[in-house]
């Protein structure tokens, strides 16, 4: 195949932090990138986080320069609120079909003024805030438990692109045929209830799959209330509660009655390291983010008590161990070595039954709020892409690398690379490194097609250093 005929554009599936990093590295080298994400804005899960360990940087603040750059880069063609429907061809010439979901808003004329969201009468639980519903006092003084989002929304004030979409499931117009308030208030007439999905075809020469992760649903953790106890939330929900740009503007409140929780319990390894019932693997990031969350909680609620139930503290990473020690010593977070057997509601408390394996005694904590660290699990997008591309995933649904030790970014198909948490649990620096790594793999491939490297123009995977493919 003549190298001159190879397409030097790149498809990146997933605009989380790994996909963003890969996109910027490739785009800044002068090559075009097609970046696709199913959400209305880029940023992935990192966009939901309050602060990052071990530096306590505000997550949205440190990623905003990157997301903004992605949004306006001349070499990045962004397809948000879109899904890859089909991929044909092979290395050097992939044909990609992309379907953009209808936003019911004409983004070309929308000025992102926010009037529609403000006018929307709905108060609904939304995925971005982990479907939290929080009790708030109404004007009459009654408590009302409501969701944190609207039926026409952008993911956050810092969203890129910052254009709203309508949640058809919860929009009164789509469900009941009345309302149209957003249309009435829109100053530029951008609302379009008739908008249809749009299909696009793109030609690329290489693909990076940065399909990310999800959290194991609380519904599958019956021993921890099965998602039925309002004050038992998962760790991403806690990130939203802690976040200064989150639904509570960073003021610590618990969902059931909006009170400040004074005793908060974090439970590690919920669904992880549990080969009999759930996932056998370690989710890797929970020890660190729980220490971080407990620390942030203590910074907000000075007279509060934070408990972390753990099996082992896994703080392998630069300045990670020091960070955990700081949580223990400076912020007085109480770490209890043992698993929790049961979590249930009693009165306005959530009782946590666990064990302290260092004393051998059972422990009961009457908590106000319980934060579960569920296993990280492979995303639905990974499964779909694996089927589409004929690529292998492991028994848990994570991408199978070409070779785990020395080719962690390659797949068994030439020209298709991996980055981020699609291959398994990773923290932010690791995901970013993989994004850059996968970008490097792609650029190395392009350089060889240009005759700039050693040997014949070869697809990657065939010469990853010494020896090549078996």
């Amino acid at each position: 195949m003549p190298a001159a005929g190879f397409n030097r554009r790149v498809l990146i599936v997933g605009a989380g932090i790994a996909g963003i990093q890969a996109a910027l590295d490739i785009a800044n080298s002068g090559h075009e990138v097609v970046l696709v994400d199913r959400l209305p804005s880029v940023g992935g899960h990192m966009h939901q986080l309050s602060e990052t360990f071990p530096t306590l940087d505000c997550s949205q603040c440190i990623m905003t320069p990157r997301t903004v750059e992605v949004g306006r880069h001349k070499n990045i063609k962004l397809y948000v609120y879109s899904e890859v429907e089909d991929i044909q061809g092979g290395i050097g010439s992939f044909r990609v079909q992309i379907r953009r979901k209808p936003a019911y808003v004409n983004w070309d004329v929308c000025t992102a003024c926010g009037a529609c969201t403000e006018a929307c009468p709905q108060q609904i639980p939304v995925d971005f805030d982990r479907r939290l519903e929080i009790a708030r006092a109404t004007k009459s003084g009654q408590l009302r438990t409501i969701g944190t989002g609207k039926a026409i929304y952008t993911l956050s004030p810092q969203a890129v692109p910052k254009k709203p979409v309508i949640d058809v499931e919860h929009c009164t117009w789509f469900q009941k045929g009345k309302c149209r308030l957003c249309e009435k208030v829109c100053p530029v007439k951008a609302i379009d209830y008739e908008q249809q999905p749009a299909w696009f075809e793109e030609q690329v020469g290489a693909i990076i799959l940065a399909t990310g992760y999800e959290l194991y649903p609380l519904e599958k953790l019956g021993e921890y209330g099965g998602g039925q106890v309002p004050d038992v939330i998962d760790a991403l929900a806690m990130e939203r509660l802690l976040s200064a740009s989150g639904p509570m503007a960073g003021v610590m409140r618990r969902p059931s009655d909006g009170k400040v929780p004074k005793e908060v319990v974090w439970i590690q390894c919920a669904g992880s390291r549990d080969p009999e019932l759930h996932m056998s693997y370690c989710s890797k990031i929970c020890c660190m983010y729980s220490a971080k969350q407990a620390m942030l909680y203590k910074h907000k609620v000075h007279d509060g008590q934070a408990f972390v139930f753990y099996i082992d503290i896994r703080s392998a990473g630069k300045r990670y161990e020091e960070f955990v020690q700081r949580a223990m010593e400076d912020d007085r977070v109480l770490f209890i070595r043992g698993k929790v057997s049961k979590v249930f509601r009693e009165g306005d408390k959530v009782l946590v039954w666990g064990v302290d394996t260092l004393t051998g005694l059972p422990v009961e904590v009457a908590a106000d709020l319980v934060v579960i660290s569920p296993a990280m699990i492979a995303s639905e997008g990974t499964r779909q892409m694996a089927e589409m591309l004929g690529l292998e995933v492991d028994e848990f649904g994570w991408w199978t690398e070409y070779e785990g030790n020395l080719s962690p970014l390659e797949t068994t198909r030439e020209g298709i690379f991996l980055a981020g948490t699609g291959t398994g649990p990773k923290d932010i620096p690791e995901a970013v490194s993989q994004g850059s790594g996968a970008a490097g793999k792609v650029l190395s491939l392009f350089a060889r097609w240009n005759g700039g490297g050693e040997g014949q123009p070869q697809p990657d995977g065939a010469d990853t250093g010494s020896g090549g493919q078996p």
């Binding site: 019956g222 021993e223 099965g226 009999e276 019932l277 049961k342 249930f344 509601r345 009693e346 009165g347």
Partner: protein, 296 residues
């Protein structure tokens, strides 16, 4: 439908009323229990020592009897209303199916060639899946209106889940759903699957007392006026330990602890006089009288 029935020792002695009620109410909903012509003790615990084949000989012998009786559908079907017996028989059956060498040793000991042909199903499982709670509900003569009851499952039909559970081990529903089909009001509470203390009743009754107390307190604070169970040992622990609770805990409210079959027979309009009501420590009748469900 016809199914082989293994009463077990408890239902033949202290739980005689439970047994009588099980047979009568099963028959009333079309479940014909045919008692095994020959049966022995099930062993009462599933041995966790892997080389203790002798303990498996007793339950294996029961399974052989069920095979010989041959009652059931495509496979001989064996049921029991004692959760411990169910746990032991079902796990033994699975063990024999899966472990070929040990199967041979057990067979040579009991002089048989059993290879796991029988299917073992708990009676509640049969009522739920083979008869159907809807069918049960249609035969109700006297709905248990106003009876707020906490369904208690214990551990034997739930754990280990992979081997015995026919219900969600963390949030079981079958007994709750049966109660609802009888017209009672099942009360949701978090301790329906907690340990009752089991055999510690013999060695450390005070431990059983505390564990039972936690369960009863939880049921009561959730609004239950009674507890219902399908486990004879749980029934004993939850019921009998209330004597000490009444002495030790100021303000303790005793709760009657029913067998599910007692309530089922009552709701189906059967003659419930032989259901062993008089054997309960906490008198099981006054609440029913208050609700107009008992004229005895």
């Amino acid at each position: 439908m016809k199914v082989s029935y293994f009463p077990g020792c408890t239902l033949n002695t202290t739980g005689k009323g439970y047994d009588t009620a099980v047979r009568a109410s099963a028959a009333a909903v079309g479940l014909d229990l045919v008692e095994l012509s020959e049966w022995n003790c099930c062993g009462a615990t599933f041995p966790l020592i892997i080389d203790n084949m002798l303990e498996l000989a007793a339950p294996a012998h029961i399974l052989v009897s069920a095979r010989a009786q041959g009652v059931g559908g495509s496979a001989p079907l064996l049921t029991t209303a004692c959760t411990t017996c169910y746990n032991v028989l079902n796990r033994t059956n699975r063990f024999i199916r899966e472990h070929l060498d040990e199967r041979d040793r057990i067979n040579s000991f009991i002089e048989s060639d059993y290879s796991g042909e029988v299917e073992v199903k708990d009676i509640l499982h049969l009522l739920r899946d083979d008869i159907g709670f809807d069918t049960v509900g249609q035969k109700v003569q006297m709905p248990l209106k106003g009876l707020k009851v906490a369904a208690y499952y214990g551990c034997m039909v739930l754990r280990p889940p992979a081997e015995v559970a026919y219900d969600d081990p963390d949030n079981p529903r079958s007994l709750d759903d049966l109660m609802a089909s009888l017209g009672a009001t099942p009360v949701d509470y978090p301790h329906k699957n907690e340990c009752c203390g089991a055999y510690l009743a013999v060695k450390a009754p005070e431990v059983t007392r505390e564990m039972a107390y936690t369960i009863l307190r939880s049921a009561h604070s959730a609004g239950a006026e009674a507890v219902v169970t399908n486990c004879p040992l749980c029934q004993f622990n939850l019921d009998r330990r209330q004597r000490e609770m009444t002495q030790l805990r100021a303000g303790f409210v005793p709760l009657p602890v029913y067998y599910f079959s007692q309530l089922m027979g009552l709701a189906l309009g059967l003659d419930a006089s032989g259901y062993g009501w008089e054997r309960h420590y906490v008198d099981a009748r006054p609440l029913l009288r208050t609700l107009g469900l008992w004229n005895g």
